[in-house]
C-alpha cells in the first residue's frame, strides 16, 4: 500500500482514539462536577481542560471555568483544533484519504457518526444534551472498531490502524496519570484514608476503568493500586502495559508482512523490556512523573519510527 495511505490510516485511528478519550475525560469531569459544590466544580473543570491539554486556548477565550463553557469549548469550539468536532473532521478527512484501505463498513461507520455528531453539535450544548453528545462520540469509536474487527482484512492496513490506536491510547493514559499524579503519591495512601477518593474515582472513570478496578480489587481504592492497575496490569485494555503489548504485536505483524524489522521494532523491544522489568515500587522510587515522561518520549519515538520505516511522508 501507499505510504501516504498508511499515514492516513494511522492518523485516522489516532484521532478517533483521541476524540474518544476526550469524551471519556469529559464524562468523568461531568460526574465529578455534579457531586461537588461550585468552588470544587470550578476546580474540576479547570482540571478537565488542562488534562485535555486545552488550557491555553481555553483561557485565551474564557476568564472563568464553568461546566457549560468548558464542555462547549471541548465539544464544539471552532477555534479549538482539539475540539471533538474538529478532531472528528480529521478522522473523516483521513478516512477519505485512506478510503481504499478501509472497508465500506468502516467508512460508513465513520461517515454516519460524523454526520450525527456534526448535527448534534451544530448548536450550543446545554446541560440536558451534554450526556447525549458524549455517548454519541463514544458510540462512534465503538462502531468503527467493531466494523474494523468484523470486516477488515488482517493485512498491513489493519496493523497501521491498530498501531495508531495504541500509540494514542498509551499517550492518553500516560497524560491523565501525569496530570493527576500528585493525587496518587503513595505518601497520601494509607489505610483508613479520609482523603478524597472521589478524585481517584475520576481518574479511573476517565479511562473507563472504574468497574474493572472494582472487580479486581474488591472495592479497595488506594493510590498505589490505581497506578499499578493503569501502568502494569496487562489485562486492562487502556493500561500502559496492555497498549505496549498490543502495539508490539502490530509492529511485529508489520515486520513479518514486510519481511524485515525496522527501527520501530527495535525501539519497541527496548521499551518493552524496560516496562516489563519494572515493579510498582521501582516506579514510585524513580518518581511517577519522571517515569511517565520517559515512557511518553519513548512512545513518541516509536510513532516517529513507524512513519519512517514505512515511508509515511517521503
Amino acid at each position: 500500500m501507499l505510504g501516504r495511505t498508511a499515514n492516513g490510516l494511522f492518523w485516522m485511528f489516532r484521532y478517533l482514539e483521541r476524540v474518544e478519550n476526550t469524551a471519556r475525560l469529559l464524562d468523568a469531569g461531568l460526574r465529578m462536577a455534579l457531586t461537588r459544590d461550585s468552588v470544587t466544580a470550578e476546580e474540576e473543570w479547570r482540571s478537565v481542560i488542562s488534562t485535555a491539554g486545552q488550557k491555553r486556548g481555553y483561557e485565551a477565550k474564557h476568564g472563568t471555568y464553568t461546566g457549560v463553557q468548558a464542555w462547549n469549548y471541548i465539544l464544539r469550539d471552532r477555534e479549538n483544533p482539539a475540539s471533538v468536532t474538529e478532531m472528528f473532521n480529521q478522522v473523516r478527512t483521513n478516512a477519505r484519504l485512506a478510503r481504499n484501505a478501509i472497508s465500506g463498513e468502516v467508512w460508513e461507520a465513520i461517515n454516519e457518526s460524523w454526520m450525527e455528531i456534526r448535527d448534534l453539535l451544530s448548536r450550543p450544548v446545554g446541560q440536558n444534551h451534554v450526556g447525549e453528545a458524549i455517548a454519541m462520540v463514544r458510540r462512534a469509536g465503538t462502531l468503527a472498531h467493531g466494523a474494523m474487527t468484523g470486516s477488515m482484512l488482517r493485512d498491513e492496513s489493519f496493523h497501521f490502524a491498530r498501531a495508531g490506536t495504541f500509540i494514542e491510547r498509551f499517550d492518553s493514559t500516560s497524560r491523565i496519570l501525569d496530570i493527576k499524579y500528585y493525587l496518587l503519591l503513595p505518601s497520601l495512601s494509607y489505610v483508613g484514608s479520609s482523603l478524597d477518593t472521589g478524585q481517584w474515582d475520576t481518574v479511573l472513570r476517565s479511562v473507563s476503568g472504574d468497574r474493572a478496578y472494582r472487580w479486581i480489587n474488591a472495592g479497595n481504592i488506594d493510590a498505589r493500586g490505581i497506578v499499578e492497575f493503569l501502568v502494569l496490569d496487562d489485562r486492562f485494555p487502556r493500561s500502559l502495559a496492555f497498549c505496549q503489548s498490543a502495539l508490539r504485536q502490530n509492529l511485529a505483524a508489520l515486520a513479518r508482512i514486510h519481511g524485515h524489522e525496522g527501527r520501530s521494532n527495535e525501539l519497541m523491544r527496548q521499551a518493552d523490556t524496560q516496562l516489563s522489568s519494572l515493579t510498582i515500587e521501582e516506579i514510585f522510587e524513580m518518581g511517577l512523573h519522571q517515569f511517565l515522561l520517559e515512557f511518553m518520549a519513548s512512545n513518541a519515538r516509536i510513532a516517529a519510527a513507524i512513519g519512517e520505516d514505512y515511508r509515511f511522508l517521503r
Binding site: 500500500m1 501507499l2 505510504g3 501516504r4 495511505t5 498508511a6 478527512t93 477519505r96 484519504l97 478510503r99 481504499n100 465500506g104 467508512w107 460508513e108 461517515n111 454516519e112 454526520m115 498491513e156 497501521f160 514486510h258 514505512y310 515511508r311 517521503r314
Partner: protein, 475 residues
C-alpha cells in the same frame, strides 16, 4: 418565455398509453402506496449521504459537500433500442480513436481537405509533445462518455463527446445500488442488464493497454488531484472497486525510467495510470511548471513507452465543439460508413454564412462556447430574456470563432417523482465506453441526467440537474 416544443415522452405516447419498455415498471408503480414511495424518496437521500456520494463545491464553506439530486423513477431503454445505440457509439468511438492517431501522425484527414487545419492549431488541448508518438496498443481514448439526447422513438443524437476525463460513472453504479436496496422486488419483476461489473471491466480494459515491457500482472493506479477535487469521491470509489491504488502526484516519482509509487515497502513500478488530472497538470516539466499535482518527467517515461496514461494526453481535442461539428466527416473518413448516430445540426460561427444565420435566429437557438463545458457560458435562446440574447449577441460578434449554435431540440422527457405524482422532465444520457486494443466495451446503461425544473433543458449537475438509474432491459 415560450413554451418548449411538443416533445417525445419515453414512458407514455401522446395518447397517454404506456410504452412497452415501461409496462413492467408502471404495473409495479401502480400497486405502490404513495406514502411508501414518499418515504423511500427521503431514504434514498440518506443512503447517498451515508455512503458519502457527494461532490465538493468550490468556495462554499458550509455546504462544502453536496448531493446530486436523485430521482427514483428509472429511465428505461429496451434491448433493441440499446443495440442500435451501441452500434452507433462503437462506430463513433473507433473513429475518434483513429482521428486522434491521425492527428498526431500523418494528418491524412487534413491533407484530404475534410477538416481544416486551423481547427486543432488553435486548440489548447492539442499537444505538440504527442506528435509522432503512438500510445501503448494505439489507444488514445480509453474511457469515453458519449452524451446522447433523444427526440423520438428511434431518434438519438450525439450532443457531446467526452474523451478527456468523462466523470459520473460512480453515479451510474450507486444509483443502481440504491434502487436495488430500496426496491428489491422491482428487480425480480423487471429483467434489467447489470452495470455493477463496470469497475472489473475497467480494470481489465486498462490492464489490456499496459505498455509492452510490463512484467507480470500490470499494476494500475488511479491518479487524483486529491480530496478537495469535486470528483474525489468517484476517484476513490473506482480505485477501491478496481483494487487499485489511489495516488496523488506526490506519491509518484520517476526512477530508472519508470514511474514508481511510494509504498510502505519502497518504490514500486506503476504500469497504467488512470489519471483524473488534466493534461496541464500531468508533468510540470512538460506542461504547467507551477503544477504540484503532477509528476516531473512522467512525459519522458510515457514517450519512452514505459507507462500507459489513460486517457492519452492530448485527447481533449475531441471534446472541442468545433471538432464535434466535423464528426460526421470524421466518422465517414475513418470508417467508410455513414454515421449511425447523427450529430445535432451545428452552425459554426467561424463561417460567414452560418454566423449570419445564427445572428438572425438567435432567440430560437442554443449557442455554446467551443471550449466550454458543464453548461456554463451558453445561451438557450427560447428561455432567455431579450437582454440576455442581446448581450450574448455582442459576445458572438466580438469572437465568432469561439461559438457554435444548434437548434433548440425537443429533448425527450422521462417522468420524475414529485410530491404531486409523476411529472415529465427533460433528460440526456451518458453511456460509458471502454476502449482497449481489440475491444470497445459499452456497459448497458449509463448516467441519465435530468433537469429537475419543469421545462428546463439544462441537465448539468453544476446547474441543479439530477440523475436517474438507467435500465437497459434484457432481451
Amino acid at each position: 418565455m415560450s413554451e418548449p416544443a411538443a416533445n417525445f415522452d419515453e414512458m407514455r405516447t401522446a395518447g397517454g398509453d404506456v410504452r412497452p419498455a415501461y409496462e413492467g415498471y408502471c404495473n409495479w408503480f401502480d400497486e405502490q402506496e404513495t406514502r411508501l414511495l414518499n418515504r423511500k424518496n427521503s431514504e434514498a437521500e440518506k443512503n447517498f449521504r451515508r455512503t458519502g456520494i457527494t461532490f465538493n463545491v468550490y468556495g462554499e464553506d458550509e455546504a462544502e459537500e453536496r448531493l446530486i439530486p436523485f430521482d427514483m423513477v428509472p429511465r428505461i431503454i429496451d434491448s433493441g433500442e440499446w443495440r442500435r445505440v451501441t452500434r452507433g457509439i462503437e462506430q463513433r468511438v473507433k473513429a475518434l480513436n483513429a482521428f486522434m492517431y491521425d492527428l498526431y501522425h500523418r494528418q491524412e484527414i487534413i491533407r484530404a481537405g475534410r477538416v481544416p487545419e486551423r481547427l486543432f492549431r488553435n486548440n489548447e488541448a492539442w499537444l505538440p509533445n504527442m506528435v509522432g508518438f503512438t500510445p501503448p496498443g494505439g489507444v488514445y481514448t480509453h474511457i469515453v462518455g458519449i452524451d446522447l439526447v433523444r427526440t423520438g422513438p428511434d431518434e438519438f443524437f450525439v450532443l457531446e463527446d467526452n474523451a478527456r476525463t468523462p466523470s459520473g460513472v460512480s453515479y451510474m453504479l450507486e444509483n443502481r445500488e440504491t434502487m436495488m436496496a430500496m426496491f428489491p422486488e422491482l428487480f425480480t419483476r423487471v429483467p434489467v442488464e447489470t452495470v455493477s461489473d463496470y469497475p472489473r471491466r475497467l480494470a481489465k480494459s486498462l490492464a489490456a493497454c499496459a505498455p509492452p515491457g510490463t512484467s507480470g500482472k500490470p499494476v494500475v493506479a488511479v491518479l487524483t488531484p486529491g480530496i478537495y477535487n469535486s470528483a474525489y469521491f468517484e476517484h476513490a470509489f473506482l480505485a477501491d472497486q478496481m483494487g487499485a491504488e489511489l495516488v496523488e502526484g506526490t506519491d509518484l516519482r520517476v526512477v530508472d525510467g519508470k514511474v514508481k509509487m511510494r509504498t510502505t515497502s519502497g518504490y514500486r513500478t506503476v504500469d497504467v495510470i488512470y489519471r483524473r488530472v488534466d493534461d496541464d497538470f500531468l508533468d510540470p516539466l512538460s506542461f504547467n511548471p507551477g503544477s504540484v499535482l503532477g509528476v516531473p518527467g512522467i512525459m519522458d517515461v510515457y514517450r519512452a513507452g514505459n507507462v500507459t496514461i489513460a486517457n492519452a494526453p492530448g485527447t481533449g481535442v475531441c471534446d472541442d465543439k468545433a471538432i464535434y461539428s466535423f464528426m460526421p466527416e470524421i466518422v465517414e473518413f475513418y470508417t467508410g460508413e455513414k454515421p449511425l448516430l447523427p450529430n445535432v445540426q451545428t452552425w459554426r460561427c467561424s463561417e460567414k454564412d452560418s454566423l449570419a444565420y445564427v445572428l438572425d435566429n438567435l432567440p430560437e437557438l442554443v449557442v455554446k462556447e467551443v471550449h466550454g463545458s458543464g453548461g456554463y457560458g451558453m445561451l438557450i435562446g427560447p428561455t432567455s430574456t431579450r437582454k440576455e440574447v442581446a448581450d450574448f449577441r455582442k459576445k458572438i460578434e466580438a469572437q465568432p470563432e469561439n461559438y457554435i449554435a444548434q437548434p433548440t431540440l425537443a429533448l425527450s422527457t422521462c417522468p420524475v417523482f414529485t410530491k404531486s405524482g409523476l411529472a415529465p422532465r427533460h433528460v440526456d444520457l451518458r453511456p460509458f465506453v471502454l476502449v482497449s486494443p481489440d475491444k470497445v466495451d459499452i456497459t448497458p446503461g449509463g448516467l441519465t441526467r435530468v433537469a429537475m425544473k419543469k421545462g428546463s433543458l439544462v441537465v448539468n449537475s453544476s446547474q441543479g440537474g439530477g440523475t436517474k438509474d438507467t435500465w437497459v432491459l434484457k432481451e
